[in-house]
C-alpha cells in the first residue's frame, strides 16, 4: 500500500466518501466501497481551485490535464476541521502542481506543444513560500521533475513512426545531441536534396534509443535532506526555503509535517514556523551529520517544537522494529545462544551499538535507504521482497563453499586452417622454384658456412654501392613519412570545408542508395514501410545524385588549381569517395541490366 499523505472526509457528486492523497496518487473512495472511484497520479493534476474562506461549503476542485472540468470535492467534516483538512490538501497539491508545471515547461523547451495547455488558476491564499529557489535545490528539483515527466511518459511507450508530433520531438532531440548529424541534416534536408523521411530512413535506431532513454524511469534522488545554512554578515545564518525543500522535509520527517499541520496557520505563521524549526532541537536531531554538535549551544528551547522531539534513537534495540524476520546471515544475535551455555567465548567482535552516538545516525541512514528503496520498488509485501528461503538448509548453502566448476569455454576448432592461409602466402611468393634438395646436403652446406667465422668477422667489409642504395632507400622511406606529417594542413579552409561537405553529402547519398537497394530490415519497429516502387524511385534518385559526384570532385580539383593548391592532393583525398561511388554505380547498372 502506498503511504497516505493526508486523508479527509469529502463528498464527490454528492456521495459521501474519503478523499485521500497518497505519495503517488490522488483518490476518492465512496463510503462502503473498496476500490476508489476517482484515482489519478500526481503528475496528472494541473490546477486547483478552492471556495472562499468562510463560505458555506468547504470545496476543493482539482483539474486534470486534458480534463478541465476536474473533480469537485466538498469537505464534509464539521468546521473548522474541514478548513484545516482542506488547507492541508491545498498545500500538498500546490507543491505537486508546481512541480508538474515545471516539468511541462521543461518539455516545452525542447519539444512541440504538449497535448493540452494547462489552465492557470488563481489559488486563494496559496501558502507557497515566496522565496526564490536556491541553487542546490534547483538541481534536486529538476531530478524530481524529470522523474515526474518520465512517470507520465512511461504510461505510453513511444514507437517511432506512430505519432508524427512525437517523432518530430525525438528527431529534434537526436539532432540537438549530435551536432555532426545536425549539420548533415542542415546540408541535405534543409537544402531540399533529400526529404526528412528519407534522412531518417535507416536511422530509426537513433530514435528508438532516444525514446527508450526517455521512457526509462528515474528513481528518487538518494540525497538526504540536509539544508545547508548560509552564513551572512553579522553572524546570522540563513536558510533558503523552497517549495521543493519543504516537500522534501515533510517527506523525510513526517513529524515536521505533523507539526506544520498542527500549528500553521493557527498558532504560527508560515515564516515563523520555519524560523523556529531551524533553531529547534528538532532540526538538529534531523541533521544528517554529527557536526551539528558544534552548534549545539545556539539551539534554543522551543515549547512548540520540543513537543515533537523524539528521544534519541540510540537504544540497543532500534525504536522502529524491522518488519518480518531478519535474515539469519545478517542477524548478529543469531549466534547468541551458541555462546555461554556451550562454553564458547562471547562474540565480542561484532556487537551492535558499541558506539552509542553513531546509532541514531546509522539508523537514520538505514531508514532513509529503506524509504528510497520503497519508493523505487513500490510497497511489495515483506515476504515477497525479502525472498527469505524458509528452508534453512538451502539458506546455509553458500556459493562460496561450492567447488568452482571450471567452464571449458568453446574452443575455436578451426578446420583446415592451412587452406585459408596457404592461398594467400602462395599468391605472395613470386614463383620461387622449389628445387628439391637433399636435406643432409643443405645442413652440411650450412655448417660449412660457419667455418672460419672469426676470420670472416675480421674481414667484414660492406661494399659501398649496396650500402648507399640501402641508405637511400631507408632515408626515402623516413622522409616520405615525415613529409606527410609536416605538411598536413595547407589546404585553404574554404576548400577544405567544401571537400568535407562534398564527402559527407555523397556519403549520405551512398547510405540512402544502399538502404534502398538492400532488403529492409524487419527488426526495427517502424510502421512506415516503403513499397518496392518507392524504394526503386529512391535508388534512382540517389543514383542521379551520385553520378554527379564526379563532376563535383572535378570542380573541387579545379578550385584547388585556381587557388594554387596541389590538385593531386585533392584528388588523392577524394579518391576513396569516388571509388565508393563508382562501386555503387556499377552495382546499380549491373543489377538493372540483370532484371
Amino acid at each position: 500500500m502506498p503511504t497516505s499523505v493526508c486523508t479527509a472526509k469529502a463528498s464527490y457528486k454528492k456521495a459521501p466518501g474519503l478523499l485521500e492523497l497518497t505519495d503517488t496518487h490522488i483518490q476518492w473512495t465512496q463510503d462502503g466501497k473498496k476500490a476508489p472511484v476517482v484515482r489519478f497520479t500526481h503528475s496528472e493534476a494541473s490546477s486547483l481551485f478552492c471556495s472562499k474562506e468562510g463560505a458555506a461549503q468547504c470545496r476543493l476542485k482539482i483539474a486534470k490535464y486534458g480534463d478541465e472540468n476536474g473533480y469537485n470535492f466538498a469537505f464534509t467534516s464539521p468546521q473548522p476541521t474541514a478548513s484545516a483538512e482542506r488547507e492541508k490538501f491545498k498545500q500538498e497539491l500546490t507543491a505537486i502542481i508546481t512541480k508538474n508545471r515545471a516539468a511541462l515547461e521543461l518539455t516545452q523547451q525542447t519539444s512541440v506543444p504538449p497535448p493540452s495547455i494547462p489552465v492557470t488558476a488563481p489559488i486563494s491564499n496559496a501558502p507557497t513560500p515566496r522565496i526564490p529557489p536556491s541553487h542546490p535545490a534547483v538541481s534536486r528539483a529538476q531530478s524530481v521533475v524529470s522523474e515526474r515527466v518520465n512517470e507520465r511518459r512511461a504510461t505510453t511507450p513511444i514507437i517511432p513512426g506512430n505519432d508524427a508530433a512525437n517523432d518530430f520531438r525525438l528527431r529534434k532531440k537526436v539532432l540537438v545531441s549530435d551536432p555532426e548529424l545536425a549539420s548533415l541534416h542542415r546540408d541535405l534536408v534543409m537544402s531540399g536534396q533529400i526529404t526528412e523521411t528519407e534522412f531518417w530512413d535507416g536511422r530509426e535506431h537513433l530514435l528508438l534509443a532516444q525514446a527508450a532513454f526517455e521512457n526509462q524511469k528515474k528513481g528518487k534522488p538518494g540525497q538526504l535532506v540536509d539544508p545547508r545554512p548560509e552564513t551572512v554578515e553579522g553572524g546570522e545564518i540563513k536558510i533558503r526555503i523552497t517549495p521543493q525543500l519543504v516537500h522534501d522535509i515533510f517527506d523525510e520527517y513526517p513529524v515536521v509535517a505533523k507539526a506544520y499541520s498542527d500549528n500553521v496557520p493557527n498558532k504560527l505563521s508560515e515564516a515563523e514556523f520555519w524560523k523556529r524549526y531551524f533553531q529547534s532541537k528538532l532540526f538538529n536531531a534531523h541533521r544528517a551529520s554529527i557536526r551539528s554538535s558544534a552548534t549545539q549551544h545556539v539551539v534554543k528551547d522551543d515549547p512548540i517544537f520540543d513537543k515533537y522531539l523524539e528521544k534519541d534513537d540510540d537504544g540497543l534495540e532500534p525504536r522502529r522494529q524491522p518488519a518480518g524476520d531478519v535474515d539469519l546471515f545478517v542477524d548478529l544475535g543469531a549466534t547468541l545462544e551458541d555462546h555461554g551455555e556451550t562454553g564458547n567465548e562471547r562474540d565480542i567482535t561484532m556487537q551492535p551499538g558499541r558506539q552509542r552516538g553513531a546509532l541514531p545516525l546509522i539508523r537514520k541512514f538505514n531508514e532513509h535507504s529503506e524509504r528510497l528503496l520503497n519508493s523505487a520498488l513500490g510497497e511489495a509485501s515483506a515476504a515477497k521482497r525479502r525472498k527469505i528461503d524458509k528452508d534453512t538448509y538451502a539458506a546455509i548453502e553458500l556459493d562460496d563453499l561450492r567447488d568452482s566448476e571450471s567452464s571449458a569455454g568453446i574452443t575455436l576448432e578451426m578446420q583446415d586452417r592451412e587452406r585459408y592461409f596457404e592461398g594467400r602466402t602462395a599468391a605472395g611468393s613470386n614463383g620461387v622454384d622449389h628445387e628439391h634438395l637433399d636435406f643432409k646436403t643443405l645442413v652440411h652446406e650450412a655448417k660449412q658456412n660457419l667455418q672460419n667465422w672469426e676470420t670472416n668477422l675480421n674481414q667484414l667489409k660492406i661494399e659501398r654501392k649496396p650500402g648507399d642504395a640501402a641508405l637511400m632507400a631507408m632515408t626515402t622511406n623516413v622522409a616520405t613519412r615525415l613529409d606527410v606529417r609536416s605538411r598536413k594542413n595547407d589546404i585553404p579552409v574554404g576548400l577544405f570545408t567544401q571537400m568535407t561537405t562534398c564527402q559527407t553529402a555523397a556519403n549520405e547519398f551512398l547510405r540512402q542508395f544502399w538502404l534502398s537497394m538492400y532488403p529492409q530490415p524487419n527488426d526495427v519497429q517502424t510502421v512506415v514501410v516503403a513499397t518496392p516502387a518507392q524504394r526503386a524511385a529512391k535508388a534512382e534518385k540517389m543514383i542521379g545524385y551520385l553520378s554527379k559526384t564526379k563532376e563535383k570532385v572535378d570542380a573541387l580539383v579545379r578550385t584547388a588549381q585556381a587557388d594554387g593548391v596541389d590538385h593531386n592532393r585533392v584528388e588523392v583525398a577524394m579518391k576513396p569517395l569516388l571509388n565508393a561511388v563508382d562501386w555503387a554505380l556499377t552495382f546499380y547498372h549491373t543489377r538493372k541490366g540483370a532484371r
Binding site: G428, L442, A446, L450, A469, A470, P521
Partner: protein
Amino acid sequence: MSTLLAVVLDLAPAQWHAAAKASTSPLPLATFIQHLNAFLNAHIAANNDNIIAVFAALPGTSVMLYPAAEPHVPVPDANSYTPFKLLDSAIIHGIERELDVIADSDNEVPVALVGALSKALCYINRLTIAQPTAKNEHALDPHILVLSVSPDLSSSYIPIMNAIFSAQKLKVTIDVCKIYGPETVFLQQAAHLTGGSYIYLERRDALLQYLTMSFLSAPALRKTLSVPTQDKIDFRVACFCHKNIVDIGFVCSVCLSIFCQPVPVCSTCKTRFPMKILQRLNAARPLLPSANSNGAARNSSPAGGRTNGNGNATRTR
C-alpha cells in the same frame, strides 16, 4: 637507456641455400653470420647495461643460443674484446651443435619460429619480473628482432597471433627484418601490432647497414630518431572459401569466419544457419542478382553490418 634485445634467427637450411644463390644481391649464411655478429657486438658496445639474448629457429626445433645454458669457453685471444668473443662464439657453437643434432633427419620440416618467439617472450618476461629486485633500476626497454627467411607457415597463424598478443601485453616491440623469401603477412602484423618496424631487404648484401640503421636504437628513442618501417600493410579481407579479397563479406556469428556468399553451414565451426536468414542474406548479395531472383523483392534484412540472429554480415571496406 639500456635495452633488452632478443634476436630470433630463422635458420632454415633450404632458404639459406636459396638466399646464397639469389639472382639479385645474394647473401650466403657465412656473410649473414658476419654481419649479425658485427651488429650484436655493436649493441652490447652501445651501453654497458644492454642485454642481449639470441634464439634460433631451426627445422622442427628452437633453442636459446645466448646466454647459453652450458657456456662455451673460447680460447683467450689477445686480438679481440672478450665480451664480443664470448657472445660470437656462443652463437656459432650453438648453431653448429644444433645442426649436428638435426643432420641425421631426412626430411626438412618447417622452422619452429613460434617456438623461438615464445622462448624470447618468456625470457623477456622473466627478466622484467625479476627487474624490481635487481639493482638495475632503469626500465628495460625490451624488443625482439626477427631475422626471417622462411615464408609464413599457415598452421602457425594462431600461435603467432597469441605471441603477438603476449608481446603487446608485455609492451615488447617486435621488429622484423625480412632477409629472403616472400613477404610474410604474419610478421607484418606482428610488427604493426607491437609498434615495431618491418623491413624487407632490397639489398641483402648491405644487411649490416639495414640492421644498424633500423634496429640498433632502443624503441623508446624511435619517436625522436625516425626509423624506416613498412609503408603498407595488407589489411584486406579474403574469404575463407575461395580466398577472394572481398568488399562485402558474410561473417559467421559464432567463429567470425568470413565468406563471400551466404553458406548454410559454417565450414569452420559447423554452425548451421536458419533458412530464413540465408534467404534474406542471399537477397543482399552484391552483384549476383540471378542467384535468388525473387529474394531481392522480399522485404528482409540487408547485409550492411546488421546483426541478425545467427546470420551476421558485415561490410569490410
